[in-house]
Amino acid sequence: MADTLLAHITLAPLTLDGVIAFAKGYGLNFSFLKSAYERDMWLEGFRTTLVLIAVTIPVSLAGGILLAGCLTAKSRLLSLPARLFVELTRNTPTLVQLVCAFLGLNMLISDALGGAGRNPFGAFFWVVTVVGLHGAAYHAEALRAGIEAVPDTMREAARSLGFGRLEILRWVELPMALRIALPAIFNNLVNIVKLTTVASAVAVGEITYASIMIWTQRDIVVELMIVLLLFFSAINLALSQVGFWLERRLRTPGLGPAGLGL
């Protein structure tokens, strides 16, 4: 087994044809890479997925912090709408939200603006918005758990130093809450990475979309599925490593176990 594997590796030249022949040795048909159109669409798919992730994660985090602040606010004027939003977003499927936003809401906006040509929002915008806000709702709940875990004595101490409500949130509650909520937040981020694949339903050219376009054309589902699974596994593995690293780095002495997680 090891011998044949080695033979394959040393015999396969590092060219496109070599890669295709190498895969063929294992019964996998990657000949679509020879078609410039499909190859470009596929490579562009990887890039678009990475861009989508890079844009959606900050949007979700910013939204999550804002929502968490509102959720824990004393004023019902802030907490009630935030609670409503979180429940609505969390309790409905992301795909349904996306289709409603893109095929429904977007059309209404176009009509109001007098034609689709004047509507600045495209499918990409709606994917970032819907997936980002979906993630934000989950972040908000994770952060709320963190904020509520901050001991009251700390809040009191801050108040006695003359901190206002917003200052307490910014300098006392959020830094503590963030540390406590980190595992949950990274859990959400891993989910967001996977959720970006709903973009394929509204023809945003990310990697799942590109793969579907190719495999419905060539019927090579298994080949592309293997690459898809490996690609998303790699991204999420890297993401959780960042999470572990942050957990270690931001560890509060005296809070939680000494050897965190790893």
Partner: protein
């Protein structure tokens, strides 16, 4: 997500059973159909005239269903249908969940390498472009640089992108693509002529601002029945039935019944198979 999930589940199952890339199967379909007493046909129900669910009776209707019924009758067995979609249809066939596909799947060289097909096709058609009235697009070359919505898996994708130079947006199904057209996400939607023409006839109010932009069909191709690779017995038996259906005029009757335009292809194939 539904389509994608199905495809994912199907392909993972294929992966686990080691059935990579259509592993050879014993030529046992015909025996199994007879033993089981039923023909399991994978059909697409994406809209009239080929296949749809009747709003009143909730029954499957359309040309695909009529043809499948007639094939089962020809083999002397009952018919069972399984609804498939472009992303999962080949997996369903390769894993033996269906005996054959009548699934708007035209003949291409790549598919013929992986699957076997019944040589006598049931229909020949191409794509037409639907767009807003008054657009400058008057023929296929005018779509260069324009955005075109279509269904994922449509075989018009390649010629539109590579030869005409259109920007492609593929949606999970024809209804999604048409909604995107109405939402202004594309300059035209390209789908099989037979389905678009029937839709315009059935819903004139919904489509009063739209018209068919192209005078000719794009990439007319043969719509064939697909079976697993190497299933010669089943293919031969089905081909015999198909030739009889053409020759007796049954295919033309079924086309007319389902409002599928009777093209010269139907007449030629009938004449070629007369007396069978």
């Amino acid at each position: 997500m539904n389509l994608f999930r199905l495809a994912a589940a199907a392909s993972l199952a294929a992966l686990m059973s080691g059935a990579i890339a259509g592993a050879a199967q014993a030529d046992a379909t015909l025996d199994r159909i007879k033993q089981r007493g039923s023909l399991v046909a994978g059909v697409i129900l994406s809209g009239a005239p080929f296949g749809y669910i009747d709003a009143k009776s909730q029954e499957q209707k359309g040309f695909n269903i009529d043809l499948a019924t007639e094939l089962a009758r020809g083999l002397g067995v009952k018919l069972e249908t399984v609804t498939v979609t472009p992303p999962n249809r080949v997996q369903f066939l390769q894993q033996g969940k269906v005996d054959l596909l009548i699934a708007n799947m035209s003949w291409t060289e790549e598919r013929a390498e992986m699957l076997d097909f019944v040589p006598t096709a049931f229909e020949r058609s191409g794509g037409i472009a639907l767009g807003r009235k008054g657009t400058p697009v008057k023929d296929w070359p005018d779509l260069k640089g324009k955005t075109v919505c279509l269904s994922q898996g449509a075989n018009f994708t390649k010629p539109l992108a590579e030869e005409i130079g259109a920007k492609i947006k593929g949606f999970p199904s024809q209804p999604d693509s048409l909604l995107a057209l109405k939402g202004g996400q594309c300059d035209a939607a390209v789908h099989t002529g037979a389905t678009l023409r029937v839709m315009l006839l059935d819903h004139p109010e919904d489509w009063k601002d739209y018209e068919i932009l192209t005078p000719t069909d794009l990439l007319p191709s043969l719509n064939v029945i697909w079976v697993r690779k190497g299933e010669t017995d089943a293919r031969e038996a089905l081909d015999g039935i198909m030739r009889r259906l053409h020759g007796s005029g049954w295919i033309i009757d079924a086309a007319e019944r389902n409002r599928l335009a009777v093209t010269p292809y139907f007449l030629e194939t009938r004449d070629a198979n007369k007396g069978r």
